[in-house]
């Protein structure tokens, strides 16, 4: 069976959930081979095996000393050597860039931000949710090795019936000068806290202008009771109430969690573009006409400063 390359997302040896989703999707196309850049592959291999990785290509951490291009060169080399049937990456900003450069190198087409992936006789068929979720399209790659970036939380991860061997194989690539042109000279970690990462989280609780001040604790407390990530509308970010990297929407992050709770968010089309594919949507808003209610599975017309704390207390009480 043809190999399907899956670029692994990992932190400190721990495989991210989206990678298990990609391996699950890769099994529909062929035999998954994981591609691990950096340290920690020994710890991560068991998890990759569970989701069907037959091989784990392990490349040195030095690839990450430069922006994106080295990983694209590595994947291009592996895809050519293994005659891969497809290359899958998660649809994060950086991985989409890798996908773009890789597709140029392979002379292939690239599909980004895919929300569902099927396979028919002619290969992978990708579903997109476009224009703020109002239109659904299906697309395919007609030339070259399909390069596909899949949105986290779009595919239900399932362990393989027979686990893969996850045989580790050290690989490297002779980097071109062009790939070394943009040098990472420092990595700055900003306060992250204990909360799950926004794009990966199963539950997201977001606050908007209705929160009313930079005191976001009403949102954070509810999020923490659910083990959720915190998000924010652009109005809240622009007001300086919550940091930029938590913005959900058109020009922020796209999330697709099992549960999205919107507190004091009106539901503008640009906000919806970032959360419309969430499985369950709950909204609290004092305006019965707020468009967010049009897509809510459950909505409360009321003051979020009353409703959210009551909900938080009730969740904590039931624990």
């Amino acid at each position: 069976m043809a190999e399907v390359l899956v670029l692994v997302d990992h932190v400190d040896g721990e495989v991210k959930k989206v990678t298990t989703e990609l391996l699950t999707a890769a099994r529909r196309i062929g035999e998954p081979s994981a591609v691990w850049v950096g340290d920690g592959a020994e710890e991560g291999a068991a998890r990759l095996a569970e989701f069907g990785a037959a091989k784990v290509y392990v490349a040195p951490a030095e690839l990450n000393d430069y922006v994106v291009a080295p990983t694209a060169e590595l994947l291009a080399k592996l895809a050519q050597e293994s005659s891969a049937a497809a290359v899958l990456v998660s649809a994060t900003a950086a991985n989409k860039e890798i996908a773009g450069r890789l597709a140029v190198k392979l002379g292939s087409g690239v599909l980004t931000d895919v929300v569902a992936l099927d396979v028919d006789d002619s290969g992978p068929v990708a579903e997109h949710s476009v224009f703020g979720g109002s239109v659904v399209t299906h697309a395919r790659v007609r030339t070259g090795v399909p390069v596909i970036a899949v949105r986290p939380n779009s595919i239900a991860a399932a362990p393989a019936e027979t686990p893969g061997e996850a045989a580790r194989e050290a690989v490297t690539v002779e980097l071109s000068d062009a790939a070394k042109a943009a040098r990472v000279v420092e990595r700055v970690q900003q306060e992250q806290g204990e909360r799950p990462e926004l794009a990966e989280a199963a539950i997201v609780v977001s606050g908007g202008r209705g929160v009313g001040s930079e005191d976001f604790s009403v949102v954070e407390n509810l999020a923490d009771s659910l083990g959720a990530a915190v998000g924010a509308s652009r109005a809240a970010v622009d007001s300086g109430w919550y940091p930029n990297q938590f913005q959900v929407g058109q020009t922020g992050k796209t999330v697709s969690p099992q549960l999205y709770i919107a507190l004091g968010i009106s539901g503008a089309i640009q906000h919806r573009a970032g959360m419309q594919t969430s499985n369950n949507i709950v909204a609290v808003n004092k305006d019965p006409e707020a468009p967010i209610f049009e897509l809510s599975d459950f909505g409360v017309i009321g003051d979020l400063h009353k409703v959210a704390p009551q909900l938080t207390d009730e969740i904590n009480r039931r624990k």
């Binding site: 950086a94 239109v135 990472v184 459950f298």
Partner: protein, 265 residues
């Protein structure tokens, strides 16, 4: 310093956006065209670089005739001149073909920095900057939240989930910007008037060295030659109507019941 800023005209996100049923490409007649929002940030950054280091800002846009409106708007923000790549054979180009065509157009210009948005609001692939760097063989300084140029060197803060990376390179380079980088200016009346007289150079594919063969499938750009293909498009099925309740003192408890029924708590 010569700065080229890439500007894409996109349908206004506030209007109902559509694809054309016949070929699943953007229906430009259905909505008003506006400058892609992040490109306004790119223009602002280009103008700030010019104010600091001198030189000239050139707008480069690829698109049909109506893209002229967005080009004028970019000029009215303060850019000096514009280049408009406009050719029917470009219709339906995918993201990589777009990056390729832009790279060829850039080949006709002199520049130290190319500034662009990190993502468009219509197609949202977010790959044009990376693909452009690949085609041009130039350093990729994308997702920049801050840009500093010192002589022939450039340094940016590249936004990441964990914070940011500091990235350095030598010029010329490709820089894409994120929203937090600056606050775009409003065109003044004086600049709007002045913009009407600023030069806009029209380029066809032949002008940038891209051949248009008899069979469109053999071309390097355009729908028939694209490596990707949209096979169908349909309005998203409406979400089933949810339960909406008014808070009469128990709103939080009611949400808890809903979450419990769905096994979230």
């Amino acid at each position: 310093m010569n700065i080229v800023v890439l500007v894409k005209q996109v349908p206004d996100t506030a209007t109902e956006r559509k694809l054309r049923p016949e070929d699943h490409t953007l229906d430009r007649a259905a909505s008003d065209g506006v400058i892609n929002e992040l490109d306004e940030y790119a223009i602002e950054e280009a103008l700030l670089l010019k104010e600091k280091h001198g030189g000239e800002v050139t707008v480069l846009s690829m698109g049909p005739d109506q893209a002229t409106d967005s080009i004028r708007k970019a000029l009215s923000m303060g850019a000096d001149k514009a280049v408009h790549l406009n050719d029917d054979a470009l219709h339906g180009s995918d993201a990589l073909q777009t990056a390729y065509a832009l790279s060829k157009a850039l080949g006709t210009l002199e520049f130290d920095v190319v500034v662009l948005g990190s993502e468009s609001t219509d197609a949202r692939t977010g790959i044009v900057g990376a693909a452009l760097a690949e085609y041009l063989g130039l350093p990729q300084l994308t997702l920049a939240g801050k840009v500093d140029i010192d002589g022939g060197s450039i340094r940016i803060q590249r936004q990441a989930d964990y914070g940011y990376d500091v990235v350095e390179a030598e010029l010329p380079a490709v820089v894409s910007v994120v929203e937090k980088i600056n606050e775009p200016r409003y065109p003044s009346f004086k600049l709007i008037m002045a913009a009407k007289k600023k030069p806009v150079q029209k380029l066809t594919l032949a002008d940038v060295g891209i051949e248009v063969p008899g069979d469109p499938a053999d071309a390097e750009v355009g729908l028939a030659a694209a490596a990707t293909e949209v096979v169908d498009a349909a309005a998203a099925p409406p979400r089933a109507a949810g339960t909406i309740v008014k808070d009469e003192g128990e709103g939080g408890l009611k949400v808890a019941e809903f979450l419990s029924a769905k096994k979230f708590i």
